[in-house]
């Protein structure tokens, strides 16, 4: 069990699954930079959180609901949680883009569900991801695999933050190209990881060999 001041943000899990180094840059090194994607995402989330709570045909809709899990050591906010008549609890997470090949979005949503389960002593078997580009919901069942993935990611992120270790950069065109931290991360510069000293010596000799 974690104490309240040991909780890490649920968003860190998503960062970790996208790229462990990105997660460490944000949560260990406290680096942050916005690009178009993150700014659009922020605006969209603000809108999702913005509206008042409401009831529609017996469904109570809450926005920006704070949740936590002491078991997993997580804390965050659900964009939208729908409480249906009959006890069904449905978290909905808003994403600006479209479904992705990695499972970061599913993990984030499932982590919210695990928090809800712990706080409400209820079962939350599934949730929805709403993708802005497609303008439709995708249903996500929280199966054992996904729940294990959340738990494993939570342990990994806790370890990473406790040790204050930033994993080395590995450049991957598609992933790095969309990352707002690209120039803080400098994966290109780290091609000289073990040879920055050698590079400097060589360059210095080249500069000095120029005739006066």
């Amino acid at each position: 069990m974690f104490g309240e001041d040991q909780l890490i943000p649920i968003s860190a899990l998503q960062h970790w699954l996208y790229c462990p180094r990105q997660c460490a840059l944000i949560h260990v090194e406290r680096a942050w930079a916005e690009n178009r994607f993150t700014a659009e995402g922020r605006v969209m989330h603000a809108r999702a959180h913005d509206g008042p709570d409401e009831s529609r045909q017996g469904v109570r809709i809450t926005r920006g609901l704070p949740v936590r899990s002491l078991r997993l050591g997580l804390a965050g906010e659900c964009d939208v949680v729908e409480f249906h008549p009959g006890g069904r609890i449905l978290p909905v997470e808003y994403k600006r883009g479209k479904p992705k090949s990695h499972r970061a979005d599913e993990v984030q949503l499932c982590a919210q569900a695990l928090c809800l389960e712990e706080m409400l002593s209820a079962s939350v078997p599934g949730g929805c991801l709403y993708y802005g580009e497609r303008r439709r919901r995708m249903e996500i069942p929280f199966d054992a695999d996904l729940r294990d993935l959340v738990a494993a990611a939570a342990v990994a992120v806790h370890d990473c933050i406790r040790d204050g270790f930033t994993p080395p950069a590995e450049y991957e065109t598609r992933r790095c190209g969309a990352c707002s931290l690209l120039d803080l991360c400098q994966p290109q510069a780290l091609r000289f990881r073990r040879g920055a000293g050698a590079w400097f010596g060589q360059r210095l000799r080249a500069v000095l060999s120029e005739e006066t």
Binding site: A196, G197, F200, G201, R203, T212
Partner: protein, 346 residues
């Protein structure tokens, strides 16, 4: 790539800066003089005794990562605003540990100084090539100084202590300034330099250099702060309360390449002449108030020039160099890079 944005210089005494939506508004005697969107700015530098800013503007700047600093009319730093200390405490702790370790400090400082001297030497060699044809005597003086500096650079690699590094650097710097007058092709005998004098500058060239170094220092300090490094804890420059030692360390590699070349351009094109200086009773030479604007404009212009960064192999503006080097330094301290690759101009 991070964009290099503009710095807003406010030199009009009596100005008041306030937030107007997402912009900074400059008011003077009840009138709006100017409005600049914050997202176009990297920093706001005020030069004057009577310039103020609203709390709302300071908060918006802290949020947007725009620095606000206040200087005397002559550029001496007075104060700066900032939000809560950001960045990584683990990085700063590592910075302090390395600064306490002489061998680790020597390794970083030696590269910084090697780059400083190599870049100074490039300035001498460039002038020897450009102007040497007209004056073989000048070319030979510059060439000899460049050779002497090259020898000193070789010694840096073998120095085991910070004191020996400082000694080598001191020798090379006096060699550099002893031939600095040969870089001036403007034959106004009044615009002269005899060695380096700082406190106060005793001739016009030193006065101009000092002012440009203040601008460079400001940029280096901001770059370090935005990378989460402590500008006061240096590797080459010793701790002294209030002294931005790491900013002084970082600016070494840019002095000749950024500041000295702007000074030479201004003087050689006669954009700044003897009439732009005044001499105080003590013999101190100061840049006149009106002339500072010209220097600021030239400085901003120089920062827009582009080069291929030698280590990152990317096209960058010169204004971004302090930021990029500060990040590379942070990368070295974090252990991502095995050494600090200081900036070497070609």
């Amino acid at each position: 790539m991070k964009r290099h944005l503009n710095t807003l210089f406010v030199t009009l005494d009596g100005s008041y800066l306030r937030k107007d939506g997402a912009a900074v508004e400059i008011r003077h005697e009840g009138e709006t003089k100017m409005r600049v969107p914050l997202h176009n700015l990297e920093g706001i530098s005020c030069f004057g005794w009577d310039i103020g800013a609203s709390a709302a503007l300071m908060a918006a700047c802290a949020e947007a990562g725009v620095s606000i600093s206040f200087h005397t009319p002559h550029g001496k730093f007075l104060a700066a605003t900032r939000g809560f200390t950001s960045g990584n405490i683990l990085l700063r702790r590592e910075q302090y540990r390395r600064a306490d370790d002489e061998a680790a400090s020597v390794a970083i400082a030696a590269n910084m100084l090697a780059a400083k001297l190599a870049n100074a030497r490039q300035v001498l060699m460039r002038a020897a090539r450009d102007h040497g044809g007209k004056s073989p005597e000048r070319a030979s003086a510059l060439g000899q100084a460049a050779d002497a500096i090259a020898v000193r650079i070789g010694l840096l690699g073998r120095a085991g202590t910070l004191d020996s590094l400082r000694g080598i650097e001191g020798d090379a710097a006096s060699t550099y300034f002893s031939v600095f007058r040969h870089l001036l092709v403007n034959h106004d005998p009044l615009v002269r330099i005899s060695g380096r004098s700082r406190r106060p500058p005793l001739d016009p060239v030193n006065a101009l250099l000092s002012f440009l170094y203040v601008l460079l220092m400001h940029d280096c300090r901001s770059a370090l702060e935005s990378c989460g490094l402590d500008p006061q804890c240096g590797f080459l420059h010793r701790d002294r309360p209030g002294r931005p030692s790491l900013a002084l360390d970082l600016m070494e590699e840019f002095r000749a390449f950024l500041a000295d070349r702007v000074a030479l351009t201004l003087l050689n094109r006669k954009q700044i002449t003897f009439a732009d200086f005044r001499t105080a009773e003590s013999g101190a030479v100061l840049l006149k108030d009106d002339s500072r604007k010209q220097v600021l404009a030239a400085w901003q212009e120089r920062k827009q020039d582009e080069i291929i960064h030698p280590f990152l192999d990317e096209r960058v503006t010169l204004g971004l160099l302090p930021h990029l080097q500060a990040r590379l330094l942070a990368r070295h301290l974090r252990g991502d890079l095995d050494a600090y690759p200081a900036f070497l101009s070609k």
